[in-house]
């Protein structure tokens, strides 16, 4: 078989039983792998109302047909129902774990049940071993990875949780290859609930390529496309993702102090340029990645990875903190403890506003850099004020009677783009299948960066169509499985060419877009069954009622209602956001 390894294995941690899950060629073609095939398998296996922490809930580690082949293909996707949002969720991570898992002979692992005591999985040469992890329980992610490599192989790639995952913090992340994170949606907490400390994968098997000559030519073309593109060939390489700080701030949509302002006066001091001047030790890159957006940095006290754009915002502008070292160290702590930095920062921002509003009598103050590290550590260990923060912003704000102060969609905290500055991004947030996420439909590309078409960011015209298009493309990339940054350099046709040379299957643009639409529609079906409706496709009231008074996004509000019906129509959903029977028939769902 070309592209796929042809094996997905189910491991029940309760009974220790393992069985292969057969996937027919037609299903592979219709869902590819990664996110798409993961969601398909998950939806077949688990009811939409399954409690995320229930032993019978499934947790999938998925690779795709392109994993371990072309540039940026070391990634993997973790799929399950999110304990943070209750939606279907997949969380993606870079590094080389995906390539190692596939090289071990598997397209995916489906993990069910709950082990009696802590375990880790060692996956190699078509074998899955369940090993004791009692002594690893309580260790941070770095110590865990080192210890498991000592027990298995120095070449093993390890995806693991830290104390946050063990303590089932609903936004606990999974860390692999030291500091690469499957950050969003709390997939780490699901590992914790299963007593699963880690999965270690040792690759070795090569992925069979259908058209070796075509693959070589296409790889050379890909290299040139990445090099020629200003974002992938220059900005991300030199300044990392934090290159966006000054750009987004200049557009007046850099969320500041829990999205109350769109311009952070100290943005320059936390920018990618500043990181390069003050903290940067070296650029770091994932498996076969020529971009290398990662930053290995050093503060006066410590060394670590990051901060990336979202983190520099979450612990910086969002909290009114402009001390780059403090931000970097909070990032290091999140990596070690296994926490999603966006939700962590979003929740602290919510706490600060709750306290300022007098709804909560606690010591959260804007710009309080001294306490940041402590809040992060307490959250991971669910102690003191951290036990409150571990609720996430939605539950926290509800608890203190001001739900409108949580900047979230469907329970997931919003990232670093204020939707008042980009109407398409607002629609993408509201309709994202996993909640307040920028990766489901990254409208910053057309609305700010002008790719593949430059759109007026304040207009709602044409936005429903292009949001749906971007969401579908994202689903295809996540299912292939590649890094989203490649989207800056290549389009759907090149993606089809990659799939053709690797798998031997011809994918037209139209077929790939149908694959994307099928996946997003299946996710929608799942979420509808989980109880989500049109009423959940919305944003916090702040974005509809409050305007910035300065900056280049001043006097703007989100005009979601102008777009939502049209978006549903483009998608083939009814006015309540439920896929129509004709749509399901067309997509074979």
């Amino acid at each position: 078989m070309n592209g796929w390894m042809g094996r997905i294995v189910r491991i029940d941690l309760g009974s220790g039983r393992q069985e292969d899950i057969p996937v027919d060629p037609e299903t592979r073609r219709r869902f590819l792998g990664g996110r798409g095939l993961g969601v398909r398998l998950y939806a077949d296996m688990c009811p939409a109302t399954i409690p995320p922490f229930a032993p019978e809930n499934a947790l999938l580690f998925m690779t795709g047909p392109l994993t371990g082949t072309v540039m940026t293909s070391g990634r993997y996707q973790v799929v399950s129902r999110s304990p943070l949002t209750g939606t279907i969720c997949d969380s993606s991570s870079g590094g080389s774990f995906g390539a190692a898992l596939k090289g071990a002979g598997f397209d995916g692992l489906v993990i069910t049940g709950r082990a009696e005591r802590p375990v880790f999985l060692f996956v190699y040469d078509g074998t899955v071993e369940v090993r004791d992890a009692s002594e690893l329980w309580g260790l941070d992610t770095h110590a865990t990875q080192t210890s498991i490599q000592e027990q298995t192989s120095a070449k093993a790639s390890v995806a693991c949780i830290g104390p946050a995952g063990e303590n089932r913090v609903p936004f606990a992340s999974i860390l692999n290859d030291r500091d690469r994170a499957a950050g969003r949606g709390g997939m780490g907490a699901l590992m914790g609930a299963k007593n699963l400390k880690a999965v270690a994968a040792l690759g070795g098997k090569a992925v069979a390529i259908a058209d070796a000559d075509g693959y070589k030519t296409m790889s050379a073309r890909l290299e040139r496309a990445v090099d020629k593109n200003a974002v992938t060939g220059k900005s991300l390489q030199v300044l990392g993702t934090a290159v966006l700080v000054n750009v987004i701030n200049a557009h007046g949509m850099f969320p500041t102090e829990n999205f109350r302002r769109g311009v952070f006066n100290d943005a320059e001091g936390i920018s990618g340029e500043k990181i390069a001047e003050s903290l940067l030790l070296r650029q770091s890159a994932c498996y076969k990645c020529p971009i290398g957006c990662g930053r290995t940095t050093r503060t006066r006290n410590r060394q670590g990875e990051g901060p990336e754009y979202e983190t520099v915002w979450a612990f910086g502008a969002n909290l009114g903190i402009s001390d780059l070292e403090v931000i970097a160290e909070a990032n290091y702590a999140c990596n070690e403890l296994g926490l999603d930095t966006i939700t962590m920062g979003g929740t602290i921002g919510c706490a600060m506003e709750l306290c300022e509003a007098g709804a909560w009598d606690a010591r959260f103050r804007w710009g309080d850099a001294d306490r940041l590290d402590g809040w992060v550590r307490d959250t991971a260990h669910v102690r003191g004020l951290g036990a409150e923060l571990a609720l996430g912003s939605k539950r926290l704000a509800e608890k203190y009677g001001q739900p409108e102060l949580a900047m979230q969609v469907k329970g997931m905290e919003l990232p670093a783009y204020d939707p008042r500055g980009a109407q398409g991004m607002a629609l993408a947030y509201a309709t994202s299948s996993r909640g307040g996420c920028h990766m489901r439909g990254y409208m910053i590309m057309p609305e700010i960066l002008g790719h593949p078409v430059f759109l007026d960011r304040f207009s709602t015209g044409g936005k429903p169509e292009i949001v749906a298009l971007f969401q579908d493309i994202a689903a295809v990339v996540d299912s292939s499985v590649l890094c989203r940054f490649l989207q800056f350099a290549v389009g759907v046709s090149t993606l089809g060419e990659m799939l053709r040379t690797v798998t031997g299957l011809d994918f037209s643009d139209a077929e790939l877009m149908t694959v994307g639409r099928r996946i997003t529609t299946l996710e929608r079906l799942f979420n509808n069954r989980a109880g989500f409706t049109r009423a959940d496709d919305t944003l916090p009231p702040r974005f509809f009622n409050e305007e910035f008074q300065n900056g280049s996004s001043r006097h703007r509000r989100v005009r979601l209602e102008e777009m939502l019906d049209a978006y549903y129509a483009v998608r083939g959903w009814d006015r309540e956001g439920a896929p129509l029977p004709a749509t399901l028939a067309e997509l074979g769902l």
Binding site: R221, L469, T494
Partner: protein
């Protein structure tokens, strides 16, 4: 409605790699892409003309070589020699840069003779005349176009891609109006995506000089999936050279000229209203 197919668009593209630091590997990739996607030509620096011609032999893709690039301020003799050598090395088209300073000085005879010398020494190759519109007023652009026609060139071209800004629909329209329907107009510089390209084609460009050629074709492929986004009306200022005028990069008189045009623009009020 965009009524353009992928093959027609590809045949309007000179797939371009002109950076100083590009080596044989990049030129080889450029040629491979041009062949794969059916672009009309590859556009390269003279040092790679023979290399590209050998790579593309029998492919149907022609080689375009630049001359007097990117400043255009050398002697006509040197340009003529460079052009002749490029043709001998396999170039079927020559993109030459005019003597921009002479045109701004109104030494029109010098400019005409400069173009004429290249046209003469390039035969039978087609000559495209790069005006470098970012350094010119509208009046000078018109004069440059007329001189190119008089000197026997086949195309006028907007930009080198190394100036203050690249191609704008306003300039392409003006050039098309000046040279008439039968003459070639090539837009180049800053064309990053399909919408940029489509805008310039609508303005009258018959050839595009781009390095993001594959991305542009892919943009056309995406159009059917979200046509409204691609057809959404543009804010006029986003595609106006006045907005991109730069005192750092342009002669101060040219900079002032563009800013003055901005002040008199009928779209100004609408634009201001649009953004408060």
């Amino acid at each position: 409605m965009i009524d353009l197919d992928r093959e027609t668009l590809a045949q309007m593209i000179d797939h371009t790699e002109l950076s100083a630091h590009s080596g044989e590997k990049k030129i080889a990739n450029l040629c491979s892409e041009a062949h794969t996607f059916g672009f009309y030509a590859v556009c390269v620096n003279g040092g790679y003309t023979r290399f590209a011609a050998e790579k593309l032999q029998g492919s149907g893709v022609v080689v375009c070589s630049v001359v007097g690039f990117p400043l255009g301020a050398g002697t006509s003799t040197a340009k003529a020699f460079e052009a002749r050598e490029a043709v001998q090395n396999g170039a079927a088209e020559i993109d030459m840069v005019i003597n921009v300073g002479a045109l701004r000085d109104r030494r029109l005879g010098v400019v005409r003779d400069d173009i004429g010398a290249v046209v003469e020494s390039s035969r039978p190759a087609l000559v495209k005349v790069i005006l470098e519109t970012c350094f010119l007023t509208d009046e000078e652009i018109v004069a440059g176009c007329e001189l190119a026609v008089q000197a026997g060139a086949g195309f006028v071209k907007t930009s080198t891609g190394f100036g203050a800004f690249g191609a704008f629909p306003d300039h392409v329209r003006l050039m098309r109006r000046t040279v008439g329907p039968a003459f070639g107009v090539k837009a180049s510089g800053g064309i990053r995506n399909f919408k940029d390209a489509w805008r310039l084609i609508q303005a009258g460009a018959t050839r595009l000089g781009v390095s993001a050629s594959v991305a542009i074709l892919e943009g056309l492929s995406l159009y059917p999936f979200a046509p409204a986004a691609w057809l959404e009306e543009e804010i006029p200022c986003h595609v106006c050279p006045s907005r991109f005028a730069s005192l750092d990069k342009q002669p101060k008189a040219v900079y002032a000229y563009y800013k003055k045009k901005c002040l008199a623009c009928p779209h100004r009020e609408q634009f201001n209203k649009f953004y408060e």
